[in-house]
Structure formats: structure tokens, C-alpha cells
Amino acid sequence: MVDIVHDRELAIEALGTLWRIRRFEEAVEDLYGRGMMHGTMHLSIGQEAVPTGACLALRRDDYITSTHRGHGHCIAKGADLERMMAELLAKETGYCRGRGGSMHIADAATNNLGANGIVAGGVPIAAGAGLSAQMRGTDQVAVCFHGDGAMGEGAWHEGVVLAAMWKLPVVFLCENNLYGMSMSSAKAFPLERLSDRANGYGIPGVTVDGNDVQAVHDAVETAVARARAGEGPTFIVAETYRWRGHSKSDKNLYRTRDEIESWRESNDPIARFERTVTEAGTLTEEDVQRVRDEVRDDLRAAVQRAAAAPDATPEGLLDAVFATTQGAMR
């Protein structure tokens, strides 16, 4: 097992990722609030440890599929902040050239198959990437990030059934932030632990503290090893919490202020990680501060460059519908 907490380089990397996600989304929130960003916005603030821990267990050529709440996954897998921000700002230099926005960022350079506006839409796609890896004889693995709400969809079921049957190298990684929009996952699924769902599919099910980078990493690392060894998929449920509303329209009527406060105050994944690595003596307070400063500077630069880029243009849209060459993420 890779020990992030006691490895200086990894701890810095993890902390950088955590902050990059947090600061990116705070910037998005700010830009949106100031009317400089359009559309809708799903923030994962409070959930940063899941993609951070998970992607530390992955190789660059491993695949991920992501969700409507996908900035964290994208950043943790290694996406470029400027191109992400440019996309959200509807710029020609954005990942999707302004055509997709937040819900559709993919990154061929990191084998990120993309966010998805459809709940559970990425589940069969991830299984397909796993099938592709299996058939091509590589030992790549596909990690399918999804929310607890996705577990109600038929697409989730069908993707998992096929992956289980063919022992595909896939990790289904559920971020249980307790709600699918307003629906409580505890109410929706009468299971002792959500990971018990796996019992219906003949694959291992694991529950992990989703606000603990190391714990997430370890669970994913085990599942990835299993997948690479040809033993098939694993279902991991990472327990976490979404601090912000589901999207802009959310008035948080389905949960209490107390609940939100208690998670923020006693279970901030970043504060926890900083405490852990400093208490372990892996990083000093100064190290931590340096990471924060670097991320702040990087992000500021990314936002500035993104904002200065040319707007997306409607020219050539009709020609953009069909591909002329096959762009494969192998």
C-alpha cells in the first residue's frame, strides 16, 4: 500500500490536488455569483478527498468517467485548470471549445472520458472502457465516479451487471454525499450500508470514509489491483458530504443547517488531511502554506488567462457534429 500520509512528495501532491479542486470551485462560484459565468453549476466542495485519493491509485492511462459534479475528478486526474476554466467561461480555448460547459469536460491527455450530464450515464461507458482494455490486453482500469442517486438508475444496474459477468477491470466508485439532489440515500435504498448493493451482483462491496484521502486511496488501490489481476469489478462507497446546494436553484430545504455546519466544521477533508500530515510530521505548517499559496497563484493565473481568451464562436458548428477522424483514448 502506498502511504500518502508519510510520503512527503505524495502528501504534497495530494494536498495540492485537494486545494486545486477547492479553489477552482470557489472561483467558479465567485464568477457565477458575479454573473460572469452562465448555465448551471454543481460544486463538489467538501468531497475533494474522494477524487484525490482515488486518482492517486491510478495511472495516467487508466480511465475515468465522471458526472455532472465532475470538476474534482477532472482535476485529480490531471486536467489543465486553464482549459477547464476557459470552458466554463465559454471560451474557444476551453476543453470543449465552449460547446459543452461544466457537465461535458473530457481530457484525452489523461484518459478522462468525460463528465456526464446524465445521472449514471457514465456507468456503462466506464464498463465499455474496461471491456476495451480487457480486449486490447492492456492492464488499464476504468474508475467510474458516480453519486448515490445514480444507484436508482437502470444504467447503473446494466453497467454493473455486464462488468460483473465479464469480470471487467472497473471500479464503481460511489460518492455518497447523502443526497441525490434532495432525495436522501438512506431513504431511497433500504440498505444497512449502500455498499451492500454489491451483494446483489456478486462483486465485492466496500464502504470507506470518503473524507479521508488515505482511506479512499487504499480502497481504490485494492480494487484496482483486483481489476488488473483480472478478478473483476469492485463497488466502493465513499461516505462524504456536499457543502453547497445541489445547484444554484437549491434552497437546502431537505436538510438542516446544523447538518451542513457539522460536516463543515468537524469533517472538512482538507483540514483533516492537513492535520494528519502535519501531525505525522510529513509536512510542516510552512509546507502546507506553500502548497496553498502555489495553488492560489496557479488558479489566479489560470482564471486570468482563461478570461482573456477569445469567446467561443458559432462558426463551423454544423461541421462539428460529425467527426472526420477517429480520436481514440487508448
Binding site: 448551471t40 459543452g100 450530464g117 439532489m181 434532495s182 469567446d311 462539428a320
Partner: protein
């Protein structure tokens, strides 16, 4: 088999409304499109124990577009039901409940997600009555917002009414005004067949003049919302509004347009459409949906094979969304669907060139 209980039919709603105002003949009040739907929901659910609504986040959350609002406080979680994220499931449960004495209203958060539910919509709900030889009926109402303009990109902005209008056994309506949003929902609940109501996201927060009380907008009748002798614009959904605005601008240039809103796509009131096309001899068909096999292809084909054919003074012109997925960037999103200016330009060209 029991006969359907006929509900009160106050306010016939069969006369043509002026613009996007209320149908004549009843008291009216101002409210938003969302409020008008909510008003209909309250009237229906309070008035009939078999009516209920289910969908994702329709309860405490109040609906993704705020349509149900605080209705759950008054009507309870039994009648305003929050579901898991499960479009196929909830439409399917709706079918089963509808066959067994209930009148379910299912909300699909974005009409794009009807893709998830297509089997229950097209292969079950639509066909059961016919396929079972009349042994059952499926009085199910499905509400789903369509359309672009909110920056939600390709998977949250489609105008998919064609898919449904192509399936025999479904009734399909597209309320363009608050008054029709209310009246059509109440009429849909009277209907023993599955009815798809394609609402429009951009209209929810707009204010309209709406009839009060238990009123109906008849399913199967087009509305002539404006009359002019130079060109007949047929438009659906949010394009009705844009066409009415365009008609005012055209009038300023001396071009008088008729604006026909089919209101119901199936069963279509071709008679009214054809009569209005024959009257002006020019047809401009405006929709937000992509051009290829958008609903206006059907309207065009109906005109071209009808007696109107010989009255046409110009080719039938469609003005539609581009054949592209809806892009995210605001400028791009605007560019790919017909705006007021586009309608003015197309109508002007049609009248000036032919």
C-alpha cells in the same frame, strides 16, 4: 371497466385567445407559467382522490424548476411523491397505477431524460390500449420541460416532441402560454389516454393572464393567436412567443402575419392550420427543434399534400433549430435556435420574394 368520471368543465376554452393571453370566457388573474401549472395540480389533486404526482425532487425541493413549490406542504408526501432518480421506473409505475384506477402525473426533470423512459412511454403507455384490444387504458400524464436557453448544454436542452408525436397512442401538447399550461394539464387529466405535456423552461418564470378555477384548454384544437393577411406563421412552444413578437415588428414594416399555435401536436388540428395557410398563401413554420424531422416537417408535408397546395404562393419555409446538439456558450446557444430577428427575416423574405 368503469366509465371515466367526467370532471367539471368550467370555461370551455375553445375560443381563440389573443396573443398569449387567456382563453376568453372566464375570470382571469396574473400568474407565472409555473404557478399556473401548480394551480392546475392543486385543483386536480384536491378534486380527485385518484390524481397524484410523482417525480424527482418534486416534494420538499419544490421541483427542479420550482413548479411544485410548496405544494407538498398542503397535499402531503403521498400525493406529491419524491422518487429516486429513475425515469423509466417512474413512468412505468405511472403506467401500472394508471391501469389500476389512479391518474398519475409524472414529472421528468428535463425532457431529455425521456430517453431513459422511452420503453415505458412508447412501447407500453402508448400501445397498451390498442394492443390489448381495449382491455385496458392508460390515463397517464407526463410533464417534461423542453427547450434551450438556460446554458445547460446538449443533454439538458433538447426539443424532442417529434419523438412522441411519431408514436401512435400518445397525445402530445405544448403549452405556449400560462393559461394553456394550466388548461392543458387539467384537460390531460380528463383524457383516458397517455398525454405528454412538453413545457418550456424559459416560460416558467414568465407572467401570463390565466383563467381562474377549474378550466380546460381543449386537446386537439389549434389556436390562432394573431391574424394577418400576408403570411401564416405556424409555431410551437417558445417560438409562439417569438413569432408574436416578430409579427409586431413585421407589422411595423407593413407585413401582417397570422400566428397559429397548434397547441396539440397529436391529434393535430390540421384543419385550422390549412385554413390559415390557404388564407395567406404563404407558410412559415417555426420551431426550436432541429430541422430534420422536427414537428414542422410534418406540418409541411400535410400542407404539401392538401388542397392548400394549389393556394401556395411560395415554397413552404421551415425555420428551425440547426441540426446540431445545443451548445453551452450563450452566444452559440442563441445562434442555433430561431430568435425573433430570424423570424422577421424569414417572413420578410417569404413575402418580398414570392
Amino acid at each position: 371497466m368503469t366509465m371515466q368520471d367526467q370532471r367539471v368543465d368550467a370555461g370551455a376554452g375553445t375560443e381563440h385567445p389573443v396573443g398569449l393571453g387567456a382563453r376568453p370566457g372566464a375570470e382571469t388573474t396574473e400568474m407565472t407559467y409555473a404557478e399556473a401549472i401548480r394551480d392546475a395540480l392543486r385543483i386536480a389533486i384536491e378534486g380527485d382522490p385518484s390524481v397524484f404526482m410523482m417525480g424527482e425532487d418534486v416534494g420538499r425541493y419544490g421541483g427542479a424548476f420550482g413548479v411544485t413549490g410548496t405544494l407538498v406542504d398542503d397535499l402531503g408526501t403521498d400525493r406529491i411523491r419524491d422518487t429516486t432518480i429513475s425515469e423509466l421506473g417512474i413512468v412505468g409505475l405511472g403506467v401500472g397505477a394508471a391501469m389500476t384506477g389512479m391518474k398519475p402525473i409524472v414529472e421528468i426533470q428535463f425532457s431529455d431524460f425521456t430517453a431513459q423512459a422511452m420503453d415505458q412511454i412508447a412501447n407500453q403507455a402508448a400501445k397498451i390500449h390498442f394492443m390489448l384490444g381495449g382491455e385496458a387504458s392508460v390515463p397517464l400524464v407526463i410533464r417534461a420541460p423542453g427547450g434551450s436557453g438556460t446554458g445547460a448544454a446538449a443533454q439538458h436542452s433538447q426539443s424532442l416532441e417529434s419523438w412522441f408525436a411519431h408514436i401512435p397512442g400518445l397525445k402530445v401538447v405544448m403549452p405556449a402560454s400560462g393559461d394553456d399550461a394550466k388548461g392543458l394539464l387539467l384537460a390531460a387529466l380528463d383524457d383516458p389516454n397517455p398525454v405528454m405535456i412538453i413545457e418550456h423552461k424559459l416560460l416558467y418564470k414568465q407572467t401570463f393572464e390565466v383563467r381562474t378555477g377549474d378550466v380546460r384548454t381543449p386537446i386537439g384544437k389549434a389556436a390562432v393567436r394573431r391574424t394577418g393577411g400576408d403570411v401564416t406563421i405556424v409555431a410551437t412552444g417558445v417560438e409562439v412567443q417569438r413569432s408574436l413578437e416578430a409579427a409586431e415588428l413585421l407589422a411595423a414594416q407593413g407585413i401582417e402575419a397570422t400566428v397559429v399555435d397548434p397547441v396539440t401536436l397529436t391529434p393535430l388540428d390540421s384543419e385550422t392550420i390549412l385554413a390559415e395557410v390557404i388564407r395567406t398563401g404563404r407558410a412559415l413554420l417555426v420551431q426550436e427543434a432541429v430541422q430534420t424531422l422536427g414537428f414542422m416537417s410534418e406540418v409541411s408535408a400535410i400542407i404539401a399534400e392538401s388542397e392548400a397546395f394549389v393556394h401556395l404562393r411560395a415554397p413552404i419555409r421551415r425555420l428551425s433549430g440547426l441540426d446540431v446538439p445545443i451548445p453551452y456558450a450563450p452566444k452559440l446557444e442563441r445562434a442555433v435556435v430561431p430568435q425573433v430577428d430570424d423570424i422577421v427575416a424569414a417572413a420578410t423574405a417569404l413575402v418580398r420574394e414570392w
